[in-house]
Symmetry: C2
Subunit: 440 residues, 2 copies
């Protein structure tokens, strides 16, 4: 019988408590699968006495996570503290230096220090697993690092933030405003008290940075990601999308282009018939396009204690069996430097919604600006709110009217130039809404 694998868990919050419960319920089964005993033998928490609904009494306790990371009687350090810097970072590096394997769910840490961590684990001859760091319970890291190893990936995209997807899909089913949806998400525990990190797209960007690196064999570079949040979306956009055959989702997209790798997080119009458009509520989904497999779509829970613990347990079991995969899918020395494709070179169709003053020549001026930028329009929807029988002077003079346009394929530079010129002309009441159309 091989030796038992001794796990030290730092951070016993929602995920940590779920992990302890998973071991209570399925520990014997895990040992059978691994062919060796394995157990959580030590924990590190600030508050030892708080009731978490699980029994921690048989485990050794460390106040300082770094002390647990250096503990000679621990084989695997499981970091569930979170945060890009501070105790999580210190403890993970300490664990690696002391020759321990590390399992973590910490996307912020990996997005910021993943390249350095990959080199450190290789130098120390240990492994770093982080299935739970991207898309929670969905085994997308395993799929990219292992299952698709014989493929060249051309694009990876997905719904990587449950909070945003809850808000967007709820706005589709009910005529509620963004602000009301966000308040509900907070009440239901789907959004933090300070929701900035989720709704401005940063959380999705962290996850995308990890997926991009593994998918394309390049170093992690989160600072090069083009990021827009979802706060600009209105019921007018949702309704227009519906009419045009689209749904609006916050997508993280990474693709190989001639000028480098494009990484972007922003609202996107996705065809109603696509798998990704069917993803509703807090569910996450990741689609991968690759040369041999063609296309895969993985759908599942992106967050939650139990689903995250499922992924952490998978990482632990791989280590218990002795499976050793390079942190980012290959040796750190063979990762290529990230070559950024400029967002202004992005090509695609665009949805544009303008609030245009109802005055002679306004629409002609807008159309001229689009033409000047070389942009062709696939469709234009202008519905005056004014009854056709009334003359302009009966309604509010110059009251702005919504105009929705869909462009044919063009470039980011062209659309931005056109919208800037339209803004300067003074025919629109508020800043234009622009949402990229994603070819799926």
């Amino acid at each position: 019988m091989p030796e038992a694998l001794r796990l030290g868990v730092a951070g016993v919050g929602t995920v940590g408590a779920s992990l302890v419960r998973l071991f209570e319920r399925h520990g014997n089964e895990l040992a059978v699968r691994a062919g060796r005993p394995l157990a959580i033998t030590a924990i590190s928490t600030r508050d030892r006495t708080r009731n978490r609904g699980v029994d921690l009494s048989g485990m050794r306790w460390f106040e300082d996570p770094t002390a647990l990371a250096r503990d000679p009687d621990t084989d695997v350090f499981v970091e569930l503290i979170g945060g890009e810097e501070g105790p999580a970072r210190a403890a993970v590096f300490a664990a690696i230096e002391s020759g321990k394997h590390v399992v973590t769910a910490n996307k912020a840490l990996l997005a910021a220090h993943g390249n350095e961590l990959a080199r450190a684990v290789e130098a120390a001859g240990v492994s770093l697993n982080f299935e739970a760091a991207a898309a929670g319970g969905i085994p997308v890291i395993k799929t990219l690092r292992e299952a698709l190893a014989g493929n060249t990936v051309s694009r990876i995209y997905g719904i990587l933030n449950g909070t945003c997807n809850y808000i967007l899909s709820r706005m589709e089913s009910e005529p509620v405003s963004f602000d009301d949806c966000l308040a509900d998400a907070q009440r239901l525990g789907y959004a933090e008290a300070d929701p900035t990190f989720d709704i401005e797209g940063y959380d999705a960007a962290h996850k995308l940075a990890l997926l991009t690196s593994i998918a394309f064999g390049s170093e992690i570079d989160k600072s090069s990601i083009y990021v827009e949040g979802i706060t600009s979306v209105t019921q007018a956009d949702i309704a227009a999308a519906d009419e045009l055959g689209y749904r609006i989702r916050l997508l993280g997209v990474a693709s190989r282009t001639e000028s480098g790798i494009e990484q972007r997080v922003h609202l996107a119009m996705v065809p109603k018939s696509s798998m990704i458009a069917r993803v509703e509520g807090v569910t996450n989904a990741v689609a991968i396009e690759a040369d041999f497999v063609g296309g895969l779509v993985l759908t599942g829970p992106g967050a939650g204690g139990d689903a995250t613990a499922s992924s952490v347990a998978s990482d632990i079991l791989d280590l218990a069996r002795g499976d050793r995969v390079g942190t980012l899918g290959r040796p750190a020395s063979s990762l290529e430097p990230y070559r950024r494709a400029a967002m202004r070179r992005h090509e695609g169709g665009y949805y544009v919604r303008l609030s245009v003053y109802d005055r002679p020549g306004a629409f002609a001026a807008i159309a001229a600006r689009m033409a000047e930028a070389g942009i062709s329009l696939e469709s234009i929807v202008q519905r005056s709110r004014r009854p056709r029988t009334s003359a302009p002077d009966h309604a509010e003079p110059e009251a702005p009217q919504p105009v929705v346009m869909i462009t044919y394929e063009t470039t980011e530079t062209a659309i931005r130039d056109a919208l800037e010129a339209i803004g300067r002309d003074g025919h629109i009441a508020v800043a234009p809404q622009m949402i990229r159309i994603e070819r799926l």
Copy 2:
């Protein structure tokens, strides 16, 4: 530098040629990922000279696959011959006996001999990987064996046969008959000249047998699967399903019940809003419900040379890295005997379409038979083809009229008893159509 891993590939048909091409294109990358060289060094084919569009000249050639399986200069035997018995079986057992790891895409072999193979590889201290044997390019074996190892699975279901899904989804989009669709599928290469194996559900059953074993930790038992094919489906069923909010799919379903594990392959009504209903054409999908992760859905290509080769390459890479997972996810000795849940105890809602003679009392007799069996009806749709103003004697006397019923939850025994009694009463023109409604 560790030693090179030498692969011997038996069977160079569509999948084999794709695998050779994958190694031509990505061989260096695979070596980087594995941390060691690996190459196809030997092949076995009947016809050495046939042009397959790939270069086989540098590889040693064996006429007899079993000779390749025993070759001392081969480390991993890759079986792509196919078939439950004969050369594939002989060669795989020979490879295991001579201490080689085996990778295979052969679902028929595994469904028939998987338990014995699992014991043989353990006794020999080698590994058997078969990602490509279920759902082609979708990494569902890896997901079940590794990613969900910390979960208890309660149900697994999916679209496991692309031929059937092509026919069913095409019948939805066009008013074509089953026979015409099948003929088109054959012309497009989606169905064999003898399509029985696909359209009668046996292919899906083979794959389900493997998934059930890994998901529930029980021995493979394909002979206990309840199997119905898709040949009874008509445009009348497709139209009725659409009207009722469903789509019709051939599902493979395995679930844990109080009396044992239920395994079944049959047409199912699935809600239009479900992910599985969105799966169209030859695409496959597998949904897994488990205690910690909740639910996952994996979608992708279920067949095709390149997608299958992608999975075979993943299996090879796992071996090259030294990852060793139990054939069915755990030691063969810890697999439980398969405990079959009787299909007659299956509980669910049912769709029933009858062709009822238009005569007084016919419908009352049918309703009475359903009531006698304790079955409550959720909805009944009866649309007489006779104009309301015409008396019966103006139309064809007693011309059969379609009646569609949806039952509330009942048992398989009850519905079968009711339909048998209805048949005996003589009010229906042809045998009833019955399709199970799947709760998703």
